[in-house]
């Protein structure tokens, strides 16, 4: 029960402060799950992202479902997922009738310029912190650079994932899984 509440609170809080998609959620998750509660290590968090990125649906939601399940089974998955979307859903429902006004409000625009700059810096910081968990040798650096290059070149996330998963499976299969 305690872990269900904790899951609900963590993911609700992340939902409230989640600006800019799945990548932007990573620093929050790293702080809550790896640093504060030690539910996961950095490698596991990276693996959840890998799976979240290669399956249908929204990456952030997938990572929430995955974390919830690992921590507290199907109930945990349900609680984490719903807690994550609760705040965004309420915000849109409240704003639906005044969207144009909200968006063109100069204070809102300024606040979000500030938020976005912080989000860019937070993602850069998360990449620094998780770098050693994900990138361990020269091949890894090469994979990172190729994948980043492809993404910048406009190749879709799923194509990049498919390419690398298929390439790796083929490679290990030919070497007899050694």
């Amino acid at each position: 029960m305690k872990s269900l509440w904790e899951l609900a609170i963590i993911f609700f809080r992340i939902g409230c402060f989640m600006f800019g998609g799945g990548s932007a959620m990573l620093p929050l998750l790293e702080e809550e799950l790896v640093v504060r509660r030690q539910w996961l290590n950095r490698e596991q968090l990276m693996d959840y992202y890998t799976i979240g990125q290669s399956t249908p649906g929204i990456i952030a939601v997938n990572v929430a479902t995955f974390t919830g399940y690992t921590k507290a089974g199907i109930k945990g998955a349900l609680v984490a997922t719903l807690a994550l979307v609760l705040a965004p859903m309420c915000v849109i429902l409240c704003l639906a009738n005044v969207l144009t006004y909200y968006m063109e409000n100069p204070y809102v625009m300024r606040a979000f310029t500030g938020i976005r700059i912080v989000v860019i810096a937070l993602i850069a910081e998360a990449v620094c912190r998780l770098w050693n968990a994900a990138v361990k040798n020269k091949t890894d650096i090469l994979f990172f650079l190729i994948a980043f290059g492809l993404a910048v070149g406009g190749v879709s996330v799923i194509m990049i994932m498919l390419l690398f998963v298929a390439g790796n499976v083929l490679y290990f299969w030919r070497r007899g899984w050694k």
Partner: protein, 171 residues
Amino acid sequence: MIYITLFWEFFKIGALAVGGGLVTVPFLYDLSALHGWFSPQELTDMIAVSESTPGPIGVNMATFAGFRAAGISGGIIATLGLLTPSFLIILFLARYLKTHAHDFKFALVLKNIRPVSMALIAFGGFFIAKALVHTWETGAVAGIVFLFIHFVKIHPILYICLGVIGGLLLA
């Protein structure tokens, strides 16, 4: 029944959109042509709104379209429709991973994919930076904020709150 249609349409998007929020956009354009729950112009506006409200764009869009079509309950049903397929898929995968955690083949491939995942996360940051950082001043501010975050450890949410204050005062 509008609720069933809403659930089904967003269920399909949830099942097909692989690779994050913006992937849902083309599906949503089709939806707008098919049902007229929102106009293409409103969809474009929503992309901007989505960047200025918390939450993934897919979720924001589902809530908005559902609300337009059938009020608050419509918004909730459309969102649940969007989430259901990936929820089931992840449950299935997580179960598999639990029983096959020590399957060395799976672990071998996953280990090699981590840098790719990392690259896509870094790209997420690059994508936001590309839209925002047009002048060297903004770039310098982003750099200073990064250094601040790197050396001053507080909860990430507090950094975001500081961002709001900074934006209101300076932007």
